[in-house]
């Protein structure tokens, strides 16, 4: 176990975290994963606290995961989604935040289409703010659960070759993963069409290659990303068919990967586009374990930021 103390009110990104802080979250999550395997899955850690799931962009799995994590910690949970929210009536994010504070919410989990939305709230509220994805900026709990899964399966992160494949430009998952994995000593390679994976990403301390087959052969972990049509302002490649041919994980390509290479995907999956449908369900795919681990990681984050772990 690490000896670092958690001092943060908020979790807005991985960029700001030290390697020791990341390890602390992962170690804490391991304890919470055991709680999830008991007959009685609920602990009183956040009893009397109120968590608001403020989702100003659609999400099913992340919102459900945070909701369940909060409930297992005995918090009261309110879900505010974009259609029910007064934001559509013209209320600003600042006013929404002030109203939530007036209701004495203790934790705000925010998902928003604008990069920086979690920073915006965190700097203005006394409540803990947990970033559940802000535009193309960060999705820290996703990167933490990915790391948790890799560590559980591979026993370590340092020294592994991790390939992140697909739409990096518009992906908050990619950014959080790059920061986290490089901080913990993995070698990160990015691949995909040059319009979605510009060379400039090498300034993050990772490698960019358009030779997918070479990168696949070396990879210990293959993290596939969905094409984020909703964020792309213009076409970055000629067609889905061409994308799938050049950058999809087909059975042929899969056959040439290392025999113990993991397949990961943050979901939702576009079967037949970034990954062959059968491969998504194969034994080397840990896609559903990522979902299970997400719960433990989010319990750990809520506990650390709002559960009295701070000194």
């Amino acid at each position: 176990m690490t000896t670092v103390q958690w001092q943060r009110k908020d979790l807005v990104g991985i960029y700001e975290l030290s390697a020791a802080e990341i390890e602390l979250v992962l170690d804490t999550a391991r304890a919470f994963k055991q709680v999830g395997q008991r007959a009685i899955k609920k602990v009183p850690t956040l009893r009397g606290k109120t968590l608001v799931n403020l989702f100003i962009e659609p999400s099913t799995r992340t919102r459900t995961s945070f909701e369940l994590a909060a409930k297992r910690l005995s918090a009261d949970v309110i879900n505010i989604d974009t259609t029910a929210s007064s934001l559509v009536k013209g209320e600003t994010l600042k006013d929404t935040a002030k109203n939530l504070e007036a209701l004495n919410a203790d934790i705000i989990v925010i998902r928003h289409s604008a990069a920086g939305a979690a920073h915006f709230l965190a700097s203005r509220l006394r409540a803990s703010v947990i970033n559940a994805g802000d535009g193309a900026h960060e999705h820290p709990t996703q990167a933490l659960l990915d790391a948790f899964t890799i560590r559980e399966k591979k026993g370590r992160i340092a020294g592994l070759n991790v390939l992140i494949l697909g739409d990096i430009l518009y992906s908050r998952v990619a950014r959080s993963n790059i920061w986290l994995l490089t901080k913990l000593g993995a070698r990160v390679t990015l691949s995909g069409p040059a319009t979605l994976v510009p060379r400039q990403f090498e300034s993050f301390g990772c490698r960019v290659t358009y030779d997918l087959d070479g990168a696949l052969a070396e990879a210990d972990v293959i993290n596939l990303l969905r094409i984020q049509h909703e964020r792309q302002r213009r076409s970055a490649f000629p067609s889905i068919g061409e994308y799938s041919t050049l950058f999809g994980l087909t059975k042929e390509r899969f056959a040439r990967t290392k025999p113990d290479a993991l397949i990961m995907h943050p979901g939702p999956i576009n079967r037949g586009v970034e990954i062959d449908s059968d491969l998504a369900d194969c034994e080397r795919s840990v896609i559903l374990e990522q979902v299970t681990n997400g719960l433990a990681v989010r319990m750990a984050v809520l506990f650390l930021c709002a559960g009295g772990a701070r000194t």
Binding site: A115, H137, L169
Partner: protein, 420 residues
């Protein structure tokens, strides 16, 4: 009847090749050769006495945007910042694309302004970039240049005709250089920081392409094109090469572009959101080189007030722009301390250069000239408190900055409009 004796200051008047310690006399509204009887004596020992500074790029928001700023409040900012003349942009509501609006702006300036206000007119009707505004009538109404600032005419043929037409009246064309296809919905300089922060990228290329277009059109038509708020290193290089060939182009740069870089965006503070966006360290250094070698003629603020509630939102949706008149001089004096500019060059970029580009009879301390004078204490240490700004808006990224150098007296037409 105003009469002043500015005693014993360092008088820097590039138009007359002057940089000496001496007195300057004001009698009525002109610079005079001799002191007038009963003149107020001002001790300027240790200070610079320079021609009144000119900012050729401000947004005063009147008419139509008076919640953000008015001619009265914007020109008070100018006076505090040491500026005796400002050139206001036509993107008001209604836009200054017709003589009536120009007449209104001039009338409001007459009634409420603290410094000289020179209006510009639009290049195209409603700044839409579709058909020419009545440029001849605008000229008669008193505009000093035409520009669609805030927007950029995308149609090259229309821009060419605008230059040909404006050339008849000797009107310079000021261009906001932005290719909309390339800037698209960008909010931040495309580079390391836009990638790291997940902000939509706006490549410097969006500026470069239009700067190159403008150089070609200026060469083709012979009409003077002035490129506004240059932010890209490559644009500086293109302008340098064009000037060497004798193409009638000039350029300005804003203090925020030569002071800040896109790294500041990591705060997600919308006071770092401007158009063009803050660029990379390499761009900033190229701007310094352009200032040093004269490729960049002027420093201008692009003073762009926005209400606090408009700016205090998610970065993506905040409007572009910051206020700048009050911090401009101090941030520019930093260029002298960094040895990027000599004192004379600095004064030129605020006085004779903009006056020359716009054909204004300003920017000099010659005897008989309008008594527009700025007295600067270049060593004065102060802290910028935007809460105390004369502007109606508060959108400055420089709030709380420790600055050095300040206008301690601003004189417009012989009248002291600011002193401390």
């Amino acid at each position: 009847m105003s009469a002043l004796i500015l005693r014993n200051g360092r008088v820097i008047d590039p138009a007359n090749n002057v940089d000496v310690v001496r007195d300057v006399y004001v009698s009525d509204d002109k610079i005079s050769a001799t002191p007038a009887a009963g003149a107020r004596l001002v001790d300027a020992t240790g200070c610079w006495v320079v021609p009144g500074l000119i900012d050729m790029h401000v947004h005063l928001r009147e008419p139509g945007g008076s919640a953000k700023e008015t001619i009265a409040t914007g020109t008070r900012c100018a006076a505090r910042g040491g500026f005796t003349s400002v050139v206001c942009m036509p993107n008001t509501s209604p836009p200054a694309d017709n003589p009536g609006t120009i007449a209104l702006i001039r009338q409001r300036a007459e009634e409420t302004a603290m410094v000289n206000v020179y209006p510009t007119g639009a290049i195209t009707r409603e700044l839409k970039g579709e058909e020419l505004a009545p440029i001849g009538s605008l000229k008669r109404a008193g505009v000093v240049a035409i520009t669609d600032d805030g927007r950029c005419v995308q149609n090259n043929d229309l821009m060419r005709r605008a230059l040909q037409y404006a050339g008849m009246f000797g009107l310079p064309v000021l261009d906001h250089c932005q290719d909309y296809q390339l800037s698209a919905d960008g909010v931040a300089h495309e580079g390391h920081w836009s990638l790291a922060l997940g902000l939509r990228g706006w490549p410097a290329l969006a500026e470069d392409v239009i700067v190159m277009r403008d150089i070609l059109l200026a060469e083709d038509t012979g009409t003077h094109v002035h490129c506004q708020h240059i932010s890209s290193g490559r644009a500086v290089r293109l302008l340098r090469e064009a000037k060497r060939r004798g193409v009638p182009v000039s350029a300005e740069v804003c203090p925020h572009h030569f002071t800040l870089t896109d790294e500041w965006l990591k705060t997600f503070d919308a006071n770092f959101k401007m158009n063009p966006p803050l660029r990379s360290e390499a761009d900033r250094q190229a701007l310094w080189e352009g200032l040093t070698d004269g490729t960049i003629d002027c420093i201008a603020s692009d003073h762009a007030p926005h209400c606090p509630f408009e700016k205090e939102v998610e970065f993506d949706v905040a409007p572009f722009g910051i206020i700048g008149l009050e911090t401009e001089l101090a941030l520019s004096l930093e260029l002298v301390r960094k040895k990027i500019l000599t004192v004379r060059q600095l004064v030129e970029k605020f006085t004779v250069n903009p006056a020359r580009i716009l054909g204004l009879s300003k920017g000099t301390l010659s005897v008989g000239a309008d008594a527009d004078i700025t007295v600067i204490d270049a060593e004065r240490d102060w802290v910028y408190d935007v809460g105390q700004s004369a502007s109606k808006s508060r959108n400055s990224p420089f709030h709380g900055w420790k600055l050095r150098g300040k206008a301690i007296m601003t004189i417009v037409g012989g009248k002291v409009v600011w002193e401390e």
